[in-house]
């Protein structure tokens, strides 16, 4: 047993930290105020990250390589790309969650392609920035209720429906769209399709104005008789009712730790800044029991303990993925924990910093807004609890609704 981050990730973590501190932070407030303006600074950065990816997948700081297994360590234990991606995301989101989400070619759609695409598809979509489109006006957490349809016509699928909350949906080169082959067949009929911008029938409806992560565009996209080549369907085109949703949901096991990592990074930013602001008022030497110090010291220790818990639960889930251990429950645990902890810490830090924390002079109020989405997307905390509870209790989705 060893719970230290191995040395081999040091350069990755350091590089991501440099990006966070040197590139993201200086432009963080600007793009928060200028919602929907494309952060040009990120284009060059993305090229540099592409270089990292090509060199060593385990050195990647983006989402694109989640799901791939890492290099084998001695005696079979792996600390691979899932862990590396999470560590990178923690650092980048220490800088700015929204700017990380706006990094070209690091979208959640890329993670989906990486997780379920065939080798031919991976080759075909290489270098493309892929966003992910699941949510519809009538379905949020209930992905099984998707109404967007994909009708087979010859060598094509014809897509019809409305997608909302597509992160980087406009800026990306393509969108991974979830649609059903047959609404009467339930979840098993839901498949994902890579749809490239420029495909006739695909239209940008609007960009959302949001509470936080404003530097990251959130698109609503409409599909009207949008024809997609049949070979753009990810995974198997068969409707296998015995497998149900499993294929599509597989992606989440890899991306939930990533979102947890984002919450960890955002939380750390707030906690560190609060400590800096309070440097003359608190003595944080871990010297006496938590209840023996001042109220604010106790609160900081508690935040730090909760933050560490979120951090290590996230690393655990990523480690399990690297070692090909089924990690659905642990992925949901870290997502639930990091989501609420990140939100609690950022809100509490803004509060404890007083008007400084509430003012746009500091980034604390921004992090307190940004963190809220991390407790929502990729499955709300409540959805994670459902997944965990069903598994622990051995209940089906019809028993524990």
């Amino acid at each position: 047993m060893n719970l230290e981050i191995p040395k081999k990730f040091r350069s990755l973590v350091n590089n991501a930290h440099q990006v966070a501190a040197g590139t993201f932070r200086p432009i963080s407030r600007y793009y928060d105020r200028h919602e929907h303006e494309r952060p040009r600074e990120l284009d060059m950065l993305a090229s540099i990250l592409d270089g990292f990816n090509e060199g060593d997948p385990s050195n990647s700081a983006g989402a694109a390589t989640t799901g791939a297994s890492g290099e084998a360590g001695t005696e079979g234990v792996r600390n691979g790309s899932n862990m590396g991606v999470c560590l990178g995301a923690m650092e980048l989101c220490y800088g700015d969650v929204a700017l990380m989400l706006s990094l070209p070619r690091q979208g959640l759609g890329n993670a989906a392609i990486s997780a379920v695409a065939t080798d031919e598809q991976k080759q075909r979509f290489e270098g493309k920035w892929a966003a992910m489109a699941i949510t519809e006006p009538g379905c949020g957490s209930d992905s099984g209720a998707i109404r967007t349809t994909a009708r087979r016509e010859g060598d094509e699928y014809v897509l019809n429906g409305e997608k909302i909350y597509v992160t980087a949906g406009e800026r990306a080169d393509c969108v991974v769209v979830w649609a059903t082959l047959d609404p009467s067949m339930g979840k098993a009929a839901i498949k994902s399709f890579v749809v490239e911008w420029g495909t006739p029938g695909m239209e940008l409806a609007r960009l959302e104005k949001k509470l936080g992560i404003r530097a990251s565009d959130t698109a609503a996209i409409h599909f009207q008789d949008c024809r997609v080549p049949a070979e753009n369907l990810l995974g198997s085109p068969e409707i296998d009712t015995s497998k149900g949703f499993a294929g599509a949901m597989q992606t989440f096991d890899n991306t939930r730790p990533l979102v947890a990592a984002m919450a960890v990074g955002c939380g750390r930013a707030a906690l560190e800044r609060l400590k800096e602001l309070l440097v003359d008022q608190v003595n944080l030497d871990y010297g006496q029991p938590v209840d023996n110090g001042s109220a604010v010291e106790a609160e900081i220790y508690r935040m730090e303990a909760e933050w560490e818990a979120a951090y290590w639960l996230t690393v655990r889930a990523a480690w399990m993925a690297d070692n090909h251990q089924p990690n659905s429950v642990q992925a949901s645990m870290c997502k639930a924990k990091a989501g609420r902890v990140g939100n609690w810490i950022t809100l509490r830090c803004a509060e404890l910093a007083g008007t400084l924390g509430y003012s746009e002079e500091e980034l604390l109020e921004k992090w307190a807004r940004d963190s809220k989405i991390l407790d929502i997307f990729e499955g709300t905390q409540q959805i994670q609890n459902l997944i965990i509870a069903r598994r622990l209790l051995g209940l089906s989705s019809s028993e524990l609704r």
């Binding site: 047993m1 060893n2 719970l3 230290e4 981050i5 191995p6 040395k7 081999k8 360590g73 001695t74 005696e75 234990v77 792996r78 600390n79 862990m83 871990y286 010297g287 006496q288 029991p289 938590v290 209840d291 023996n292 220790y301 508690r302 730090e304 303990a305 909760e306 560490e308 818990a309 979120a310 290590w312 639960l313 690393v315 655990r316 480690w319 642990q330 645990m333 639930a336 924990k337 409540q382 609890n385 459902l386 965990i388 509870a389 069903r390 622990l392 209790l393 051995g394 209940l395 028993e399 524990l400 609704r401």
Partner: protein, 435 residues
Amino acid sequence: MARDAMGYALSALNHLAGSGVLDRLGVRRTAENISYYLSRSSFSAISTSARQFRNLNPLKRPQRLQAPGETRDLFDLNITDEQRMIRESVQEFAREVLRERGEPADAEQSIAPGTLEQASELGLTLFAVPEALGGAATERSPVTSMLVAEDLAHGDMGQAIAILAPVSVANALTQWGSAHQQGTYLVEFAGDHPPVATIAVSEPAPLFDPLRPACTASRRGDHYVLKGTKSLVPLAAQAELFLVAAMTEDGPGVFIVEGGSQGLGVEADFAMGGRAGGQGRVTLDGVTVPAANRLGAGDFDYRAFVDLGTLAWCSLAIGTSQAMLDYVIPYANERTAFGEPISHRQGVAFLISDMAIELDAMRMLTWRAVCRAEQGLPFRREAHLARTLVKDKAMGIGTNGVQVLGGHGYTHEYPVERWYRDLRATGIAFGGLHL
């Protein structure tokens, strides 16, 4: 035994209490206070010990063991094959023996002699003593101790405390003892009848800080004189050997005190939980110990000594919390209300999933701190954060576990009320144990 005498005294008191005489006389409150002290003093004894500790084969230097060498520079949550084997036997013992006897041991406030005998077959004490001193240990692994504590507490925390207190003293002597201390005391733990031993750190004061004990150790020539009161000391009445934390002129230290020492007294101190651990108060009224009995050989780290105790309590809390989770899952599936199992309601199911999330959070922080301790890395911060998280989350699991069972959970028909009481110890106990 003192317990029997106390039993008689208590039944006499109960007879009086139930008679209504006290209410008529208007002195019930006073009598209740007196009864508490009466019962304590009936238990109270000058601690005695037939055992003679002698340094028969003086060592040239203390025996220090290395951490297991398998640690590599990779994050790894796997345990070794040896640890897996140890866990299997400890888990079986906890399941078959400790769980079964949890309720009677709690009621009697002691572990049955037969249980202790069975526990000794696990060889925990022997594996805490270096081979050179007649033991079986070739390496020192706080991680293994942590896993053992967790598994024992999954059976029953109170009995786990009684089993682990002497092992803890052996661990501390192995890690910190001087050549003289190991030759005199540690060797005894490798014998057929290892001494009953315990660690006394906590004191009966609110907001107790183990780094600032009120108990003092004053230097008088080549002796120290100890004065003070220690509370929640496991096996207090039976212990033949104590490690006592006390403040000296140069900061807090730990002193090896033999049972039967002049001025050493023991009183019963009935507590909310962990009762099978036989915790009591220890009074030190000018107890004189040789200066050579101050624990350490130049490398003693009082803070680490305390933290390895705190992390042992965290490990126990993890085991008991796991027991709670494992218990409420089948209960919630079998108990029906409004025509279906209560587990079908999110209000119940989410309590359970949150228990599971926080239990794993407790695990990760405790494991991290103990791994660092084992590897010789600084672990003060990690131990502090582990305790800060574990004491809140473990109690949350305790209270929510009882909540899932509702009224049933509040009665002794089910073990969850005992686990609730046991888990409260996590925010309170210092010392007593040492990984």
